[in-house]
């Protein structure tokens, strides 16, 4: 019961009202972001009151990590083009922020993005935002049709023990609050009932029942070698040619897709150049183009790159890329499903 041992720490049962008052109190020194309901859908936005929060949300189109930590588009450098060129570094705003209500898949996605942007080469703006952002996770009480986090260990309850600040579990009138960082201990000044063995059991029971409600699953063991042996499997060409539009929706909504493009934008008077970076997608025709050729000219090879990056190339960071959020399936105009593609390869090789 290692899980229980880790659990014996700073865990509190707090009435939801008190928790939301705590969130409101944070607004004096932080920008507070969380899920709100917009028409029939939930989105992460800045909130002006905890009453805005829609904590029962199922999923969002965009993940908080790729909205508030790794920005879809940002200036990285400015060049002043006079008789000589001067370079100005773009200062990242270091506003303190809190993101509340992040599902386990999206917390894990942020931990994945850390590998890219806090790895061998650290990105100054990502690092500044990451250090100034309090992450409050929320264990899932609902499973959407395309969720498959339970197959890859990233949900429905958060297993990671560090890299974020708190995680909440819905206990009806209360939240079970687990404090996971020193910063959380400093910020969270509300006295509550200490949670112990009983609460751990209740939490485990809730997780058990959630695990039973998944409709989608994938068996990832051995997928890496299986894919490498099936680079020419018909599923790639068939799916790509019959259904893939190369629209890049999958990449844009993916919480772990980190690729970016760098572009220089020249002002109308030619005096200033902004070097910007913005999200890019391996589904774009020119993504792997070089002089004299294109390594992924075919749509099938671009689709295969997306699927294999998510399910196969675990050697990259020692962890599987997908967090099982299912967004790429939900937002694909033709409902291409990477778990189904993997299963088709698995089925055809078992025989």
């Amino acid at each position: 019961m290692t899980g229980e041992n880790i659990f014996q720490g700073s865990n509190l049962l707090i009435p939801k009202d008190s928790f939301f008052r705590f969130i409101d109190s944070l607004r004096s020194q932080h920008r507070v972001l969380g899920p709100i309901k917009e028409r029939d859908y939930a989105v992460f936005r800045e909130i002006t009151s905890s009453r805005d929060l829609f904590m029962e949300y199922k999923t969002t189109m965009l993940s908080p990590g790729k909205m508030f930590l790794y920005k879809p588009r940002e200036d990285i450098l400015k060049f002043r083009m006079e008789s000589t060129v001067s370079i100005q570094e773009v200062m990242t705003e270091v506003e303190k922020q809190v993101i509340v209500g992040i599902h386990p898949c999206d917390i894990n996605a942020i931990l994945y993005l850390d590998q890219t942007f806090l790895g061998t080469f650290s990105d100054p703006s990502y690092k500044a935002r990451r250090e100034n952002t309090v992450l409050i996770g929320l264990n899932c009480m609902q499973v959407s049709d395309n969720c498959f986090c339970s197959s890859v260990g990233t949900g429905p309850f958060l297993k990671a023990q560090s890299g974020y600040d708190m995680v909440l579990t819905d206990f009806g009138e209360d939240y079970l609050i687990e404090l996971k960082s020193e910063r959380a201990h400093e910020l969270f000044d509300i006295k509550g009932e200490k949670a112990g063995h009983a609460e751990w059991s209740v939490k485990s029971g809730k997780e058990e029942s959630m695990l039973k409600s998944f409709k989608k699953s994938i068996y990832v063991d051995g997928l890496d070698t299986l894919f490498m042996k099936n680079l020419d499997h018909p599923v790639w060409a068939t799916t790509a040619n019959e259904r893939c539009l190369s629209c890049s929706n999958c990449v844009m909504v993916c919480p772990t897709c980190f690729c970016y493009d760098i572009k220089d934008e020249v002002s109308m008077d030619l005096k200033e150049v902004s070097r910007i970076r913005q999200l890019d997608a391996c589904q774009d025709l020119r993504f792997a183009e070089v002089h004299g050729g294109n390594f992924r000219l075919r749509r099938s090879s671009r689709l295969r790159q997306f699927v294999m990056h998510n399910l196969n190339y675990t050697s990259q960071y020692g962890t599987i890329k997908t967090v099982g959020c299912g967004r790429c399936i939900t937002w694909c105009p033709t409902k291409i499903d990477l778990t189904e593609m993997a299963k088709e390869i698995q089925r055809s090789t078992i025989r």
Partner: protein, 271 residues
């Protein structure tokens, strides 16, 4: 914290035309502590135009180094217009390098195709500096035509110390050509190579590297001693932008120099 995407000024101290579309730029940057190992690259560019990954074509010392650049894209065509004294912007060096130190006491085979000789030139330069550290050194260099050959005069000066074999796909009419005609793979047998004690460093078009690597494998080279240098589209050079990903590897950080055996039979590659 230093922004890894911040380039520095590199002043052009000399330009030498190599072929119709290729020039060697001698560059000098303020930071005299800048060093690079043979096989590494810089991101080279200019504000408003962009950046491109370009291998160093010389050894680097005290902030001085060379880039041999073929004018074939937006960035390289812009650079082609530069004159001595102009400034370009560079950052680096990035990536892995040819493992010369591992080859000490052994023979070395260099195989280059076209502009692929540029990243191998600093290897030759370093070998010449400490020639006694290595056994037999052989360079096999192929190009489309004699006009496309890089560093021809310099190669002549190398001949005293290393064995050189040159070949072209075809000889341009009215051109004097005293060497071979045909593929570089055909020269593998002409050179006196002892496969079990030789390190091979190969750089050129991917299809050429495939056939050379296979040819060496057939001749008994150890898979742990056959290296290639790969090229992919790159925007960042620092394993973030994702463009150069190949089989889960970042060519910019995990490469560009790899063991051939680690990069063969991957998706979307020719090796």
């Amino acid at each position: 914290m230093k922004n890894p995407l911040l380039p520095v000024k590199a002043t052009i101290t000399g330009i030498k035309r190599e072929t119709e579309d290729t020039k060697t730029f001698s560059l000098s940057i303020e930071d005299s502590s800048y060093t690079a190992k043979p096989g590494q690259f810089n991101m080279v560019g200019y504000p408003g135009v962009g950046e491109a990954p370009i291998s160093l074509s010389s050894m680097a010392s005290e902030g001085r180094f060379q880039h041999t650049i073929r004018s074939v894209g937006r960035v390289t065509e812009f650079i082609d217009g530069f004159k001595e004294g102009d400034v370009m912007y560079v950052r680096g060096p990035y990536g892995t390098y040819w493992p010369l130190d591992n080859a000490i006491g052994n023979d070395i085979l260099l195989v280059a195709g076209g502009v692929g000789l540029a990243p191998l030139r600093p290897v030759v330069q370093e070998i010449l500096e400490r020639r006694d550290s290595f056994g037999t050194v052989t360079l096999i260099y192929g190009s489309r035509t004699p006009d496309n050959m890089l560093f021809l005069r310099e190669i002549d000066t190398w001949r005293k110390n290393i064995a050189v074999f040159l070949t072209v796909d075809e000889v341009t009419p009215n051109t004097k050509w005293d060497y071979d005609v045909g593929l570089v793979t055909q020269l593998l047998d002409n050179a006196a190579i002892n496969p079990v004690k030789t390190f091979a460093f190969i750089c050129g078009p991917e299809i050429m590297m495939l056939f050379v690597s296979r040819g060496l494998s057939i001749r008994g080279f150890l898979p742990s001693r056959v290296y290639v240098s790969l090229e992919r589209r790159m925007k960042c050079g620092i394993a973030q932008c994702g463009h150069c990903q190949h089989g889960g590897k970042f060519i910019c950080k995990d490469g560009p120099v790899f063991l051939y055996k680690d990069m063969s039979r991957l998706a979307d590659g020719l090796l």
